[in-house]
């Protein structure tokens, strides 16, 4: 047996292979921790329990936003077997190309479930569900989507949308791909109240992604907590009524309850039906709205600054008194115009002259307020004009002009109120004064006030000297109805200077430019504005509050490029005030209401100039 020694070759060979295996086993079982978590990734499925989103009610408890179930079709590509693609596409109502495109996207993660088709309608779902068992690898996941009771208040209520990578990053991965978040309006401001708390159910799934049972008897599970329902300050009926009056017009309405700062109506027209921004058509509708030259997605009452026009005269009256340069008896000569160099600020109203303060307010005398303006900004007690200007600026800010009011909605603009520096750059430091900026005396020039700020100024005058931060959240439905508190802001003008201005504004409606705004049995205080703008016809503006004593509503209406304030804005404001104060009262000014409802400027605009600004 000459080869007997070769037996050692076999020992060696067996031992070598055995050793190689031991090394590999040691490395994957003991040294490498990855496999434990990979195994967990396989069998442990964290099923997110989505809480129902909180409902949204108006101030009287009328439901405005609720939830509805939709279905997402999910797929684990690896598990798809023997698929009858044609039948599948037929039932799901998609094309074969769609199918392949979606499938390819899902194949990026062949072992995990991904969304194959989002938000399948209840009808498609019903037909498809019966055949679901034939399509191995596919399963349904229930999600909730928003539904809106009415087609109004789209801008205030806002909408929810799928989170993007940036939101996920910013949320510290609280949100996951495919989840929804409030992206505008109340849905956005009160996202954290509305969304509730997600729950997690840990379940064990087998290779076919079938749930086998709970993981550790559910010891690591957490319950989902439903989102909180919230009551907003809107009066849904008033909002809808206002929207119908504003139909066919470009503009804004903001109505505030002066004593609380609660927003009763916030209208931006042209608007959009919030129901467009839900479901599968959301993306498509969203881009259509964004492309619309009339900018229906633009939230005018919060974001669009307008020259305030004549309302500014009321503010000047207050500041002037506070500064001691104006008394109710101060009289200025009208002279049909105020001349500054070659420039003349004309007075467009026929009235006796000279007028006292109350009369000047009623007749909206331009030259009168040019004198008032100059007496405020050109005060001798300040060593420089700039100081005097800053003093005026500070007063205005206390009226919420040129600052953000801090409403609980996104997209608020602070309007336009230039700091002294702006004029220093424009004219040179020390070489400008009241006469250079005289346009501001009548609310024109370098001034921009948003409709929200205008309504807020009305609330200030209605309150005789202060405002509460305007807001849309009334209370949260948890542990009884607890409401947030909002700050009270006093203006720099003493309360005792307000009554004369209120009287003047009452005169405007009683016997001045806004007689159209009169309402039976209550006293309305208002001021028309006809603000000039370089882009076309004047903006029709009206501000008001009512009743004169113990006011319940302050309102600002802007109708762009519509003409005089008394023509459009005043009737709309008046009709809305009446509807709010007397919701049951029969409308006796039918002709006026019909004229508002049936006038359509947008169609006219569309015919004349294709892209209005």
């Amino acid at each position: 047996m000459g080869n007997k020694g070769r037996q050692y070759f076999y020992y060696g060979l067996f031992a070598l292979v055995g050793l190689a295996f031991l090394v590999q086993l040691f490395s994957i079982q003991v040294l490498d921790d990855r496999y434990k978590s990979l195994s967990k990734d396989n069998f442990l499925k964290k099923v997110i329990q989505f809480p129902p989103r909180g409902l949204i009610y108006d101030r009287y408890g009328n439901l405005m936003v609720y939830n509805d179930a939709t279905y997402d079709l999910m797929v684990v590509p690896r598990q798809v077997k023997n698929l009858d693609t044609l039948e599948f596409c037929r039932l799901l109502k998609i094309t074969l190309e769609d199918f392949h495109a979606k499938m390819e996207k899902c194949m990026e993660n062949p072992y995990r479930s991904s969304v194959f088709e989002k938000q399948i309608s209840a009808r498609t779902y019903a037909g498809f569900q019966e055949h679901l068992f034939e399509f191995q690898g596919f399963f349904m996941e229930i999600r909730t989507d928003r539904r809106y009771k009415t087609s109004s208040a789209g801008h205030v209520l806002g909408s929810i949308g799928e989170v993007n990578t940036k939101i996920i990053e910013n949320s510290n991965h609280y949100y996951r791909q495919g989840e929804y978040i409030g992206i505008s309006g109340i849905e956005r401001s009160y996202e954290e109240l509305l969304r509730g708390t997600k729950g997690v159910k840990n379940v064990i799934v087998d290779v076919r992604n079938r749930t086998v049972g709970p993981y550790f008897e559910g010891a690591y599970d957490t319950q989902s907590v439903a989102g909180q329902s919230i009551y907003v300050t809107l009066d849904a009926a008033l909002q809808a009524y206002g929207e119908s009056l504003m139909e066919g017009k470009i503009g804004s309405v903001v109505a505030i309850e002066p004593s609380t700062g609660e927003i009763l109506a916030l209208i931006s027209t042209p608007d959009y039906d919030p129901n467009l921004l839900i479901g599968r058509e959301r993306g498509k509708n969203f881009s259509t709205l964004m492309m619309d030259p009339l900018k229906p997605m633009f939230n005018r009452p919060l974001s669009a600054p307008y020259p305030p026009g004549s309302i500014f005269k009321a503010i000047s009256s207050l500041i002037g008194q506070q500064e001691g340069v104006l008394t109710p008896d101060t009289r200025y000569h009208c002279g049909m115009g105020y001349r500054v160099g070659s420039h003349t600020v004309k007075c467009s109203h026929r009235h006796p002259s000279p007028l006292d303060l109350r009369g000047a307010l009623m007749h909206s005398c331009n030259p009168y307020f040019c004198y008032v303006f100059r007496s405020i900004v050109d005060q001798r007690k300040f060593s420089t004009f700039e100081e005097s200007y800053n003093n005026w600026h500070k007063h205005l800010e206390s009226f919420g002009i040129g600052v953000k009011l801090g409403i609980d909605l996104y997209g608020e603009s602070k309007g336009i109120l230039k700091p002294a520096d702006y004029f220093n750059r424009l004219y040179g430091k020390g070489s400008w004064k009241g006469s250079n900026i005289i346009s501001m005396a009548i609310g024109q020039g370098e001034l921009g006030v948003t409709p929200l700020q205008m309504a807020n100024v009305m609330a200030i005058i209605a309150n005789r000297g202060y405002y509460i931060t305007p807001h849309v959240l009334k209370y949260v439905d948890v542990m009884g109805k607890t409401g947030p508190t909002f700050e009270k802001h006093y203006t720099t003008v003493d309360g005792r200077y307000f009554p004369i201005v209120v009287e003047g504004m009452a005169d405007v409606v009683k016997s001045g430019t806004a007689r159209v705004a009169q309402i039976d049995s209550i006293e309305v205080c208002g001021k028309t504005g006809t603000s000039q703008n370089p882009h076309g016809k004047d903006h029709s503006i009206f501000f008001a509050f009512a009743p004169k004593d113990n006011p319940k509503i302050a309102i600002a209406v802007v109708v762009e490029n519509a003409g005089y304030g008394s023509q459009w804005a005043a009737p709309i404001a008046s009709l809305m005030i009446e509807r709010y104060l007397f919701p049951e009262r029969e409308q006796r000014r039918k002709y006026l209401e019909d004229r508002m409802l049936n006038t359509n400027f947008i169609d006219t605009l569309k015919q004349n100039e294709p892209v209005p600004h």
């Binding site: 086993l25 079982q29 069998f43």
Partner: protein
């Protein structure tokens, strides 16, 4: 004990009890692993015959009866019927190609009612016996070229038939016999050449540019040529080896792309980390890797319980062991196999006749190939080749095949004592 010595046809004292215990331990361990792998809470009795674990118990019982029967039959029987078995095996291997049932693309199973049988198991056994019988015949010397050719023929005939059945894995097992021939005098350079061939194959597939392998080998040859410039024979050998290598490297591509089937190419690509669907290997490694040092415990293996591992009761049974018993359990199984194989070689070397020795080596080498390929595949060191893990994997054909293989060896080994005694008589 003495009682048996006179009455029984075999010498009890010569029976290798160590191996029998090992056998029992392995089949029982396998049985429990199968129970875990296909555990069904509705039929949780391990004896339930409607479940794979119940059936495996039945196969184990049949195996024990069969083993006892083998020990009872006269040792001369196996030599005498070797050629007969071989003829039968060849016949069945051909027949199965025509009348076999097709499973997973291979036609390697007979199906009779509920009973299934894989002729390759008989072929392995018969080839081992025939090779042993032929080489132990009077006047046959392995040094003869003719004898070598006949031996190769004996091995290659069933191997080719199994390949025709499209059962590549089982065909691979027949390479075990070439390993056996090394002990009988197959020249070392041939074996070394075979290993070198395998090495070249792997390296060529691993590198992106096969030409680089040629450059390296060329450089190496050049160095060797300078070193051995005075010895003409070595010079020629080096040159021949170089030419051989180049031919091999050039043909690897052809072999890989034209000879191998699509799924085989894919599996090799997966093994070398060249992409492809590595689901099976991944899940298998996750199962074993997640076992940690001590394992997840009996019935606690999630990979196997929830079916993430493919073929978990048969070819991937090792995953269950790795997952539930951890490094302790899986290393234990490796130890057991290595010990068993070494034990069999020791048994082989103590045989007085050539027949028993060659047969014993055959058993060791068959086990070795199964062990290497099966466990290697589950831990990602081998491409996926579907052959069972001896004694552990579920399946009657495989379990009974290995039982017969092993108990015949034990019978032959036990008979060695008789032979010695007869010498003393």
């Amino acid at each position: 004990m003495n009682r048996y010595r006179t009455n029984e046809p075999f010498e009890t004292g010569g029976l290798d009890w160590l191996t029998i215990f090992q056998y029992l331990f392995m089949v029982l361990f396998g049985w429990i692993a199968i129970y875990s792998a296909v555990y069904n809470p509705d039929n949780s009795s391990i004896f339930d015959l409607s479940q794979n674990y119940g059936r495996q118990m039945m196969f184990i019982a049949i195996g024990l009866v069969l083993g006892a029967a083998i020990l009872i039959v006269d040792a001369k029987f196996y030599g005498a019927f070797a050629y007969g078995f071989y003829a039968l095996a060849i016949f069945l291997c051909i027949a199965v190609i025509f009348i076999g049932a097709e499973t997973k693309g291979a036609k390697s199973w007979f199906e009779l009612g509920g009973f299934k049988f894989q002729p390759v198991e008989l072929a392995k056994y018969a080839t081992a016996l025939t090779l042993a019988k032929y080489l132990s015949s009077y006047d046959v010397s392995f040094k003869d070229f003719r004898v070598k050719v006949i031996c190769f023929g004996i091995i290659l005939l069933p191997m080719a038939l199994v390949l025709l059945q499209n059962d590549t894995g089982s065909a691979l097992v027949f390479t075990a016999f070439f390993l056996v021939l090394y002990r009988e005098g197959l020249p070392t350079w041939l074996l070394a050449g075979a290993f070198y061939l395998a090495f070249l194959f792997v390296v060529t597939l691993l590198v992106d540019e096969p030409l680089n392998v040629i450059y390296v080998l060329g450089g190496l040859a050049a160095v060797l040529l300078v070193v051995f410039r005075k010895n003409k024979q070595i010079l020629l050998a080096i040159l021949a080896a170089l030419v051989f290598s180049i031919v091999v490297i050039m043909s690897v591509d052809f072999f890989f792309n034209e000879v191998l089937q699509e799924h085989q190419r894919a599996r090799i690509n997966v093994l070398f980390g060249k992409g492809g669907d590595d689901y099976n290997v991944r899940q298998s490694k996750i199962a074993i890797g997640s076992g940690g040092f001590f394992g997840q415990g009996f019935l606690n293996g999630t990979q196997t319980r929830y079916d993430y591992v493919p073929e978990q009761a048969t070819d991937f049974i090792y995953c269950t062991i790795g997952e539930e018993y951890g490094f302790l359990g899986s290393a234990g199984v490796v130890f057991m196999f290595v010990l068993l194989m070494i034990r069999i070689v020791i048994i082989a070397e103590r045989q007085k006749n050539r027949f028993s020795r060659i047969y014993a080596y055959s058993v060791a080498c068959i086990l070795f190939v199964h062990f290497t390929v099966n466990i290697g595949m589950t831990i990602g060191l081998m491409p996926i080749i579907g052959i069972p893990l001896p004694f552990f994997s579920y399946g009657g054909s495989s379990l009974l095949g290995f039982t017969i293989l092993l108990f015949t060896l034990l019978k032959l080994d036990a008979n060695r004592v008789n032979e010695m005694q007869s010498l003393h008589d």
